[in-house]
Amino acid sequence: MNDTGIAIIAEHISKIYRRGSDKITALDGVSLRIRRGDFVAFVGPSGSGKTTLLNILGCLDNPTDGALSVGGTDVFGEGTRLGEKELTKIRRQHFGYIFQNFYLLPTLTVRENVTVPFSFYRKDNAVTDIPALLASLGIERRMNHLPGQLSGGEMQRVAIARALVNRPEILLADEPTGNLDSKRSRDIGEVLGSLNRDQGITIIMVTHNPELAALAGRQIDLRDGRI
């Protein structure tokens, strides 16, 4: 389990939602390992459990059953069920997240949005040169603009910058281009690709977009909660 080359180990993960008397099986015994530096894309039709799996791997959600270890720490498993506080600490340590809807705070400037995570915690090796980070994403000139003045692609770049300020090992991306046109989708894909190639950040992504999925080194196809 302490293999330094492995970022995430998931074994027999299942997730069952109850809605009234109905049981919906979102994940049905999924096992997988993700290595450091991997670029993984979960693909598959809607309702196949991609996002549920991403959320569980990213410690945003608890599996109903199974075991999960992140960076050598047991997160879920027999006898292990961490509380919200511990989960937050693991998330702080390992993950950065980006979402389809960006979720920038509308009253904060780009620069302020990007540094919001610092108001909660700051890793020792966190990014100190924010302008350089924004420049690397091509949005340095937008630094003092409000989100409402940006295009969708720019907003997603801001969200990526925000996810990167604490230098996560793993970047989780849930439909990062779901709200973008194809040109901008390609740009975001390139950004993600270069983060993976040049900085060695592990990327786990859920997408419907085959062109984007093709950028990933590894595609995992989910159907009915199974790989």
């Binding site: 937050t88 997240y97 389809q100 979720y103 302020e112 540094t115 108001s119």
Partner: protein
């Protein structure tokens, strides 16, 4: 780098109208609270000042004598009762008595005032003792008369203004056909003395044919003596009534107590309403930002961070509201004064509402305290939001 309070502050800017309305609500209730606390403090001060301005603690009056100028006016100067000057000498002999001042009040009907005539009143005072008791009097012009028999007068500011009198002018006592020379015009005091015409008491006695008679005696009791003892002695004097101003004050305070309770209920209700407003505003903004708060958590916010964020928002609202309310209260002291005067059975002269720094701080602390208390639930609610719930609701 952005700090958590900046995030909170900028969140409030998002719904400006709502934030402003909430702050206005808090400000209104803070205004009411501060004003009423100020009233609580100011009323007694004003009353004390009024009573101190009398210069004496005990007033001895002839039995059945109206000792208030207002009563005198209403009765049209009739029904005045007198006591003998010898009583003054008796009282002077008490060891507890520091100084006494004899007074004789007179009023005449003046047919040339208004369409159907009016009353002119004169207060005869002793130039030796009376000015000493009214040490705070200041003169606009001139000075006190010194001869108890002089045909002179000192006029309160309003009396002088009404009669357009200045030092050197004459006034005429109607009916009696006596002229008096104005030797002094007082500055405004804010008390009933402003409307009074002071005349040497021997002159009043002579002009009105009441030699050897007095209507009232002001008694200043020695600092070390108990006022109650003196009162007790004076009750034995024949045909006089003894009015201790402490008694008068007690009566007034108990009359006002009811009004005070009412006024405080209003304050409490106002604060409660404002707090319901705060809970509502913050809770609404928490629900609206459900997903956003989840995202903050995915960015590393602990439940405590979220709690703090929401609590700071509440704090900012209450702080701004409290400051605005205090400013309102200070700015509108006069208005509050006027409003309260309408509510009260008796109002002293001078400002009834007294707002100072300690009082403003107490009110501020109360507003913020209650505000933070009402922010507890929304903040707790927000802290409990789990990131996954908000993301799920995004998918739905």
């Amino acid at each position: 780098m952005i700090r958590i309070w900046q995030i909170a502050y900028k969140n409030l800017l998002r719904k400006k109208v709502r934030s402003i309305l909430t702050i206005t609500g808090i400000a209104m209730s803070a205004w009411v609270l501060v004003s009423l606390l100020g009233f609580n403090k100011g009323y007694e001060n004003a009353l004390n000042r009024d009573i101190d301005s009398m210069g004496y603690q005990v007033l001895v009056a002839a039995k059945g004598c109206p000792y208030e100028a207002a009563t005198l006016m209403l009765k049209g100067g009739t029904g005045l009762r007198y006591m003998d000057e010898s009583i003054a000498r008796d009282i002077q002999r008490y060891s507890e008595v520091k100084v006494i001042t004899p007074m004789v009040m007179q009023a005449v009907f003046d047919p040339n005032k208004g369409e159907s005539g009016g009353i002119s009143a004169y207060l005869g005072v002793d130039p030796k003792t009376f000015p000493g008791m009214k040490g705070y009097f200041q003169f606009q012009q001139g000075k006190w008369f010194t001869d108890p028999n002089a045909a002179e007068a000192v006029m309160g500011y309003e009396a002088a203004e009404l009669e357009q009198r200045e030092v050197g002018d004459k006034i005429l006592i109607p009916e009696k056909n006596v002229e008096l020379a104005v030797v002094g015009v007082l500055k405004r005091t804010g008390t009933q003395d402003d409307g009074t015409i002071f005349v040497p008491f021997r002159t009043v006695q002579r002009v009105f044919g009441v030699a050897g008679k007095l209507t009232a005696i002001g008694v200043q009791v020695d600092k070390n003596a108990r006022i109650a003892d003196v009162e007790q002695k004076m009750y034995d004097l024949p045909d006089v009534q003894v009015v201790s101003l402490a008694q008068v004050k007690q009566t007034i305070i108990s009359l006002v107590a009811t009004a005070r309770v009412m006024v405080f209920s209003i304050a409490v209700i106002a604060v409660l309403i404002a707090m319901v407003g705060v809970v509502n505003t913050i809770l609404m903004s928490v629900f609206e930002r459900f997903q956003e708060i989840g995202i903050l958590k995915s960015m590393g916010a602990l439940p405590g961070d979220v709690f703090r964020l929401i609590w700071i928002e509440t704090f900012i609202l209450c702080l701004l509201g409290g400051i605005a309310g205090n400013a309102l209260a200070l700015g509108l002291v006069r208005v509050t004064d006027i409003l309260i005067r309408r509510l009260l059975p008796y109002s002293p002269t001078g400002s009834l509402v007294m707002i100072d720094l300690p009082l403003a701080s107490i009110a501020m602390a109360a507003i913020i305290g209650v505000g933070l208390l009402s922010g507890l639930y929304p903040a707790w609610k927000a802290a409990r939001i789990r990131p996954i719930e908000s993301i799920r609701s995004q998918e739905a």
